[in-house]
């Protein structure tokens, strides 16, 4: 499903070269729940953005669902991302001045689908995460838990095959974290591949986690 082969990623700024990733190889199967653990700055987020096609490797290749995503031109990688990948960010990263519904619609906009179809999908996902009653409230007035559910709804509105989560529990209290775990478990049972980048120990002894990779200074150490 997801294959990273000999990835090297170098950031070049005016004065120096920073090696963010070296010799990364990773394989994640369909329906696998993979945790990337490591301190901040170890390169976990970069791996996620490579998988999503948001950034491109300096060498090596990234295959996702049989497609070499690192070689796709922007229009196609965006299209691919839209169809196959759902993102959950550390601080939810919603657009605070839009309503719940408008936030969830955002990934659907470039598809230019008929209105009824969009409404249907948004409604479904809002009900699934029980935020339908807040559909028209502005996101910035919601509680943390509600915001998190909006963020997850947005990630899932396109029925992605892969979920990428970047420090999803960093800002959550214990209850909300547990709620998130249940959602991940549910998604895994639906056959979704999940990759979580985190240093939260909560994930390390979770029953549903299939593999744990530890990263340090841009390398996978175990």
């Amino acid at each position: 499903m997801i294959m990273l082969r000999d990835i090297r990623k170098v950031y070049t700024s005016a004065s120096e070269e920073v090696v963010a990733l070296k010799n990364i190889s990773l394989h994640v199967k369909v329906g696998e729940f993979c945790v990337l653990k490591g301190a901040s700055g170890s390169g976990k987020s970069t791996v996620l953005s490579l998988i999503a096609g948001l950034s491109k490797p300096s060498s090596g290749e990234v295959m996702v669902d049989g497609k070499q995503i690192s070689k796709l031109p922007d229009t196609f990688s965006a299209h691919f991302r839209r169809r196959n990948i759902g993102f959950i960010f550390q601080k939810y990263h919603l657009i605070p001045t839009l309503s719940v519904k408008d936030n969830i619609i955002v990934p659907l906009i470039p598809e230019n689908l008929p209105l009824a179809q969009i409404e249907q999908r948004v409604q479904n996902v809002m009900e699934k995460f029980s935020i339908a009653h807040k559909a028209t409230s502005m996101v910035k007035y919601l509680s943390g838990g509600e915001q998190q559910r909006v963020a997850i709804a947005r990630a899932l509105v396109n029925h992605p095959k892969i979920i990428l989560a970047d420090e999803p529990t960093a800002n959550l209290d214990a209850t909300l974290s547990m709620e998130l775990m249940t959602i991940f478990e549910m998604l895994k049972n639906e056959g979704v591949s999940i990759i979580v980048a985190t240093h939260d120990p909560l994930f390390f002894d979770l029953a549903c986690v299939d593999s744990i990779k530890e990263m340090k200074n841009g390398e996978i150490v175990s």
Partner: protein, 320 residues
């Protein structure tokens, strides 16, 4: 130099186009030289981003070029009020030696940039971006006529002299004129009209035989003979005057601006006929959409211009 508001608008947009097209040129040269789809170097990624700027800029220029072409003719028509002797845009355009070249460049550029956008669209549809090098090479080539047009237009407006007496279209477009345009009138009218209909017919044949080469050729000849026959034959029926042969007066209010409709249909028809078919060749596709559009608009043009002499004949029982 006369600075009417219209001229200032045209000159200002020219300056803007010049600025943007220079940026696009520099980027195009870089992309053309360094483009490598397989490279994972940071340079390639930044070239990819820059290619977007080029296409945005060209889209911007082209979308404005079409209305600006019509606006240019409109401005010349309006200037003919000030310039002594000119009755319509023809006199104004010809009041400067290179006025005709300017118009020709403007028309050529409309075809070139339209084609570039078609190619760009086709390119962006493919994962491998197969035409990227080609399209940037083409832009570098197309920059020459674009620059020529802009330079000619600026010098055209700055050398317009309102106190100079110019000829009106009546003398320009007649056999008596000494210009090379008069050559047109030495040829037999019926022959020209015959050739025009012949190529219209050939377009139809090529469409059904699915022969792209003939289709392109016929469309190319069709534009030329459409314009020639419009000058020597069809325009007289629009004006209902046997001596009035002008391709510009058609655009005036007296004739309900029918010229705009004629020129736009002719452009769309032949543009898709030539550009669309060439693109199909590049794509090795036999999508008939462009050909259909082309055939539709070419036919429409033939119908519009034919309607005038026919209705004249039906009304008066004689030909002009």
């Amino acid at each position: 130099m006369t600075l009417t508001p219209e001229i200032i608008a045209l000159l200002m947009l020219d300056a803007l186009f010049l600025f943007f097209s220079l940026i696009a040129l520099v980027l195009s040269v870089r992309i053309f030289l360094k483009w490598d789809m397989h490279s994972t170097h940071a340079l390639q990624y930044s070239l990819e981003k820059q290619s977007y700027l080029v296409s945005v800029v060209i889209k911007y220029i082209f979308t404005l070029k079409i209305p600006l072409f019509l606006f240019f003719i409109f401005t010349c028509n309006k200037l003919s009020n000030i310039i002594t002797g000119a009755m319509c845009a023809a006199g104004v355009v010809n009041s400067v030696d290179f006025g005709l070249y300017l118009t020709v460049f403007k028309i050529i550029n409309l075809y070139f940039f339209g084609f570039w956008l078609l190619l760009n669209r086709a390119d962006m549809k493919e994962e491998k971006l197969p035409f990227t090098k080609l399209k940037f090479l083409l832009f570098i080539l197309f920059f020459v006529p674009l620059l020529a047009e802009i330079v000619l237009e600026i010098s055209f407006f700055s050398s317009l002299n309102i106190s100079k007496i110019v000829s009106c279209c009546g003398t320009l477009f007649s056999a008596a004129s000494t210009s090379y345009l008069s050559l047109l009138f030495k040829v037999d009218k019926t022959l020209v009209v015959g050739i025009f209909y012949f190529f219209a017919f050939l377009i139809g044949i090529a469409y059904f035989l699915k022969n792209s080469v003939v289709f392109i050729f016929a469309n190319g000849m069709f534009v030329i003979f459409a314009i020639v026959s419009l000058i020597v034959f069809f325009s007289t029926y629009v004006y209902e005057l046997p001596t009035h042969n002008c391709p510009f007066c058609l655009l005036q209010k007296e004739y309900y601006g029918v010229g705009y409709v004629m020129y736009v249909t002719l452009y769309i028809g032949t543009f898709f006929g030539i550009g669309g078919t060439i693109l199909n060749g590049l794509l090795r596709s036999d999508d008939r959409l462009f050909l259909k559009i082309s055939l539709l608009f070419d036919t429409l043009y033939v119908l519009i211009v034919s309607a005038y002499p026919l209705s004249y004949y039906l009304k008066n029982g004689v030909w002009l």
